[in-house]
């Protein structure tokens, strides 16, 4: 009896091992593999970029390349890279997260100057998603504070996207006639009082708004908003662009220590540069990010409403300062966000 069990167990274990190892070790005959560690809303973008780049790289150099993707919250992804996730390139939500990787010694200082336009080959901004027909009549930032409006956004302490939301609201209030720090603070405080669910990631808050039916307005990246409306129901949702918003510049860079160790610098560099080519920019626009290249931008102009865009540098004096003032433990967000008080 025992021996029968043993034999059976042995066979089962062997079978699983074979099933598990067999196919993974096959099908890996590339000249190089790149790992792109990115944040949540770029899955669809990089799926398209990867297949297009692989074909173009093969044509140009004759080399076959494979690209692996990892997605998650921007801060979490940066932390994984710092802790040893061997990313050849990082394409994150904010420069602050790349700075964190740089501080750990993996990226050389001055990375933001290595590629054109602050190393951000595409941009986005923060817009509103409302229920079909805009029942609460939300047109611009002040409408968010109308009585009975529930706002969905993620927690800016854990979500890069939510930080852009927060700063967009702050920047709007600051730039109003007679606006100052105190007024901005009061505005943002009021705004967060109307948030019933504070998800830890941007995608979580979209799910809460769309799938769970909670809230009247969702603050989201423009690309996420268009994607969500297309994927989850044009008949249920619509997008509203505020008068003023923030210019979100998600940066990309090569992780120097990793590419030097793995000998992948050329491929990694080519990969990022591809994002700036007309083909790359075309894919960027098709995935609802705002392209940098004027010709592509003109072609897709109807897709992106005209919004006055503030930059982090002019409104907040750069990411490091914004992060420290607003989102560090004990910072402005912690002070103004006191639920139940």
């Amino acid at each position: 009896m025992t021996s029968k069990i043993h034999a059976a167990a042995r066979v089962a274990v062997l079978a699983t091992l074979v099933a598990a190892i067999g196919p993974t070790t096959a099908a890996r005959a590339q000249d190089a593999t790149l790992l792109n560690v990115s944040y949540d809303p770029t899955r669809e973008l990089y799926q398209a970029i990867n297949s297009s780049f692989i074909a173009s790289y093969k044509q140009k150099t004759g080399k076959t390349i494979a690209i692996n993707q990892s997605h998650g919250g921007s801060g979490k992804q940066a932390r994984a890279v710092i802790d040893g996730l061997e990313a050849d390139v990082v394409t994150l939500a904010l420069a602050y997260d790349v700075d964190a990787v740089q501080e750990s010694g993996l990226i050389t200082p001055g990375w933001q100057k290595r590629l054109p336009q602050n190393s951000a080959p595409y941009t986005s901004t923060v817009v509103f998603v409302v229920r079909k027909g805009n029942p609460k009549g939300i047109k611009d930032w002040p409408d968010l504070l109308k009585p009975g409006v529930a706002i969905i956004t993620a927690n800016p302490k854990t979500s890069g996207g939510a930080r852009w939301n927060y700063l967009a609201a702050w920047g709007y209030a600051l730039r109003q006639p007679g606006g100052d720090e105190a007024k901005a603070r009061a505005f943002v405080t009021e705004l967060y009082k109307r948030v019933p669910v504070l998800d830890s990631g941007a995608r979580g808050s979209t799910t809460t708004f769309v799938q769970r039916g909670i809230g009247d307005v969702l603050l989201a990246w423009e690309n996420e908003a268009i994607l969500a409306v297309n994927e989850l129901g044009k008949d249920k949702l619509e997008i509203v662009a505020p008068s003023v918003s923030i210019l979100a510049e998600p940066p990309v860079t090569v992780v120097d220590k990793v590419v030097d160790k793995r000998g992948t610098r050329a491929a990694a560099q080519a990969y990022l540069e591809y994002l700036y080519t007309p083909e790359g920019q075309e894919i960027v626009a098709r995935n609802f990010y705002r392209p940098r290249l004027a010709s592509v931008a003109a072609k897709y102009a109807s897709q992106f409403p005209k919004v006055k865009l503030l930059t982090i540098d002019e409104a907040f004096g750069g990411w490091t300062k914004a992060q420290k003032t607003h989102f560090a433990d004990g910072g402005v967000f912690d002070q103004l966000y006191q639920p139940g008080k």
Partner: protein, 283 residues
């Protein structure tokens, strides 16, 4: 005889109703919800979601992880239960509590400690980096985190069974001249085989389903370091709810198979031989 001791029919009915309604709300409905949403778009869409290459890669990795973690913890469980059940030694109580510890540690902490140990900035990070050994964000890290969270299952299942059996048979075999391994394979193992199987089944279920700890050490590389539960989360975050629930239904199905296997083991081993409480199953 029993009749005098049971409650009046009305109370009986009420108790039964309360128990069944409670179980229906808290246990059955979540299960139904998983399958209902998995099949929301029909059986074809369900199969498509399962045939996707990334889903397959996740399934393979999960099977591989369980195939390594379960035998490791089985070996540990057998050794620990032999030492603890057959011998008296000081510090046994503390040892038992330490064995239980992974049950009560938050899965998040279980993942984090391996990052602190093997991460690039961790204690062994520089050494591993210099020798180009990848532990976390690769398969070894996922296996280690899984071994950690499923650590006590077999041991805690076996210890009471062995304790209940006592040492007489082994001692008799010893007197008759049997060697240690002989005693173990000929006498002890046949006696505890159902307990072993029971522990292995539970250990396996947890190994395949672990989310929190694995999530911290995985790196989430599509097709390489995503297990089934992580793949569910990814699909969920891609607004692909039907596919998320389809893959989740695999795990729910695994849970049902686990329950069935447990019932069979209990039935084969006879209710009496069943360790008096699965108190030790998890925590």
């Amino acid at each position: 005889m029993r009749r005098a001791l049971t409650e009046p029919p009305l109370v009986r009915g009420a108790l039964l109703a309360v128990a069944l309604v409670f179980l229906a709300i808290f246990l059955v409905m979540p299960l139904v919800a998983v399958f209902a949403q998995a099949l929301e778009k029909g059986f074809g869409a369900y199969l498509t979601a399962l045939r996707e290459p990334d889903a397959w890669a996740a399934i393979r990795l999960t099977l591989l992880t369980a195939a390594i973690a379960v035998p490791m913890n089985l070996a540990f469980g057998l050794a620990a239960s032999w030492a603890i059940a057959k011998f008296e030694f000081p510090g046994k109580g503390t040892l038992l509590t330490l064995i239980d510890l992974p049950f009560a540690v938050s899965p998040v902490i279980s993942g984090m400690i391996f990052v602190l140990l093997f991460g690039r900035q961790g204690l062994l990070g520089p050494f591993l980096g210099a020798h180009d050994v990848k532990v976390i964000f690769a398969v070894p890290g996922i296996v280690l985190a899984t071994v950690f969270v499923t650590f006590p299952f077999v041991a805690r299942e076996l210890i009471p069974v062995m304790q209940a059996l006592g040492n007489e048979e082994e001692e008799a075999a010893r007197v008759l001249g049997a060697g240690g391994w002989q005693i173990f394979f000929r006498v002890t193992l046949p006696n505890v085989k159902w307990g072993v199987l029971y522990g292995v089944i539970l250990c396996n279920a947890r190994a395949m389903g672990e989310f929190g700890a694995v999530s911290v050490v995985s790196g989430h590389i599509r097709g390489l370091t995503n297990t089934i539960p992580l793949h569910v989360e990814i699909l969920y975050n891609e607004y692909n709810f039907q596919a998320a629930f389809a893959v989740a239904s695999l795990l729910a199905f695994l849970a049902l198979v686990t329950l069935l296997a447990k019932s069979v083991v209990e039935w084969r081993s006879g209710r009496a031989a069943r360790p008096e409480a699965p108190v030790r199953e998890a925590a």
